[in-house]
Amino acid sequence: MNFEFTEEQLMIRDAARDFAQRELLGDVIERDATATFPTEHVKKLAELGFMGMMVDPKYDGGGMDTVSYILAMEEISKIDASVSVIMSVNNSLVCYGLQKYGNEAQKEKYLKPLARGEKIGAYLLSEPEAGSDATMQRTTAEDKGDHYILNGTKNWITSANSASTYLVMAQTHPEKRHHGINVFIVEKDSPGISLGPHEDKMGMRSSDTHSVMFTDVKVPKENRIGEDGFGFKFAMKALEAGRLGIAAQALGIASGALERAIQYSKERKAFGTEIANHQAIAFKIADMAVKVENARNLCLKAAWLKDNGKPFTTEGSMAKLYAADIAMEVTTEAVQIHGGYGYVKEYHVERLMREAKLTQIYEGTSEIQKIVISRGLLRD
């Protein structure tokens, strides 16, 4: 058993922290208020190699392990979860899926620019009527010999407008139910793709979320990933890895709120002393810290399992479930500790609370995680 990080892991954590402090903190409140996409910020993130940090260097990635990824995601999420969700989708859903299941030609053409961060990726699974139940895909992909024709609508797509490379799940053989689903690499500027309006979200407002409509979109056959009917398995495997990114994001939102609460409680005075000296506040901080530490350990354990080639489905779900739930609790308490100041935007914690809520919903709701965990435990 060894809880020490390596020199590189610490360097990555520090690099992410420096980046967040220097490049994100300055305008995070304004970008949140105006729902402005962090174009320049993502570009700089890419220059540092954070957009494809786990991709094999052979495909222009950073070649880092999942533990490093967790550390980086935590640091960036402490300051700005809108940026970290763009980073998470690109790294652990899109790049991960392409590297693991794509063929050489697909990796050469699509993975490399994504790993370099020159292009942004999006993952298109959810539909208006297929969220948690992803088996019910209504988007269709009709096999036309050397190409497919896609029709349908995808919902809640992170980076829908700023991404250039889409991974799209669509049904080819409805009679085979989820075994008939395929996954395609689709270029966003393909004819027939249109976007719904920018979703006016409660939190993570600086990331762009849209619905995406496909009307007779032609996709060459070589853009299908894996065998015919592999799409559902692909979707689930990618989500398994993606979950770790969101778990770390929730962790970062919580630990960012904790840091702010600690700092504030040592500065703010009430009844003649810093509020940190009041037990009501001190105990809140203790409870928050235990939750954050637990979430961090769950995230790192799941990442360690993944890095060592061991199954991590159950642990990943535990990390995502727990981190998201405590992110909601910890940010709520952080607002409470800040009192009235916590309720205004200047002090960041209200934003962290809004951001925390989404981590309980996307990439598998807390309820779905409980299904995954319990099935893992109860299956014969």
């Binding site: 020199e7 590189e8 990555i12 220059e47 190699g49 260097p57 950073g62």
Partner: protein, 249 residues
């Protein structure tokens, strides 16, 4: 051409300063260590010069005097882009001792330009760079806020009390640099971090010699009296207090 940048391992600038052993030693417990901010800017400028030199600057080396604890910041310097590093394996006792160790370690290294930060944020000695030049008997320019290289010509801007001067110098030389030398330090990228592990970081034994000074003990500043608040509608009273009570105007 070869550049050497001297690196000091210092506590993060936001560290809460505490002492242990009856106030005889700095409390290193829980401290986050960083590259001394001025040294980090020096390294940044060195990298910029190398990148713009079209191959004329072939190598940037970094050196530190310190125990194994100093290795993470050296590794970071390599991750940022230095090509190789030297660590003189001994405690950094005082400026004289550190400068002597560096001079001994590099005297045959063939460095043309040696950069050092104007001070370190821990013991604020403001001396190592200038002392290295004296040990090696090479020219030095202090408080340098700009280094430009065009062709083979190096021009340095130094701050003096009352203005600035543009300087030229013979090689090799030491430039003692201050803020302004580079805009902001670089954040290492993934590729750099990965490559850092493969770059050479030599550990050399210290030369004979001793420090000329030592710390007898430390103290924290006395707590300041509470701030006297004046109402915002009574600015006149503040001015009166500054005049009659503080006697500063």
């Amino acid at each position: 051409m070869k550049i050497l940048v001297c690196i000091s391992n210092v506590p993060d600038t936001t560290t809460k300063i505490r002492f242990v052993d009856d106030n005889k030693a700095f409390d290193k417990n829980g401290v986050q260590w960083i590259i001394n901010p001025w040294d980090e800017l020096a390294l940044t400028r060195a990298l910029e010069l190398k990148e713009a030199s079209g191959g004329a600057i072939e190598k940037i080396s970094v050196i530190t005097v310190g125990t194994k604890d100093a290795e993470p910041v050296m590794r970071k310097a390599l991750a940022i882009g230095a090509d190789d590093g030297i660590r003189v394996d001994t405690e950094a006792k005082d400026a004289y001792y550190v400068a002597m160790q560096i001079a001994e370690a590099i005297k045959d290294g063939g460095y043309d330009m040696i950069l050092a930060g104007i001070e370190s944020s821990d013991y604020n000695g403001s001396a190592v760079g200038r002392m290295i030049a004296e040990f090696l008997e090479i020219p030095s320019v202090s408080s340098v806020s700009k280094i430009e290289m065009e062709g083979g010509n190096i021009s340095l801007k130094r701050e003096i009390d009352g203005g600035t001067e543009v300087m030229e110098t013979e090689l090799p030389f030491v430039a003692i640099v201050q803020k302004g030398i580079a805009l902001e330090p670089r954040i290492p990228n993934m590729r750099g971090i990965m490559m850092a592990r493969k770059k050479p970081l030599a550990v050399v034994a210290p030369a004979d010699g001793d420090a000329l000074t030592e710390f007898a003990g430390f103290e924290l500043p006395e707590a300041k009296a509470a701030c006297k608040m004046v109402d915002e509608d009574n600015v006149k009273e503040l001015v009166n207090l500054l005049h009659t009570e503080a006697k500063v105007i």
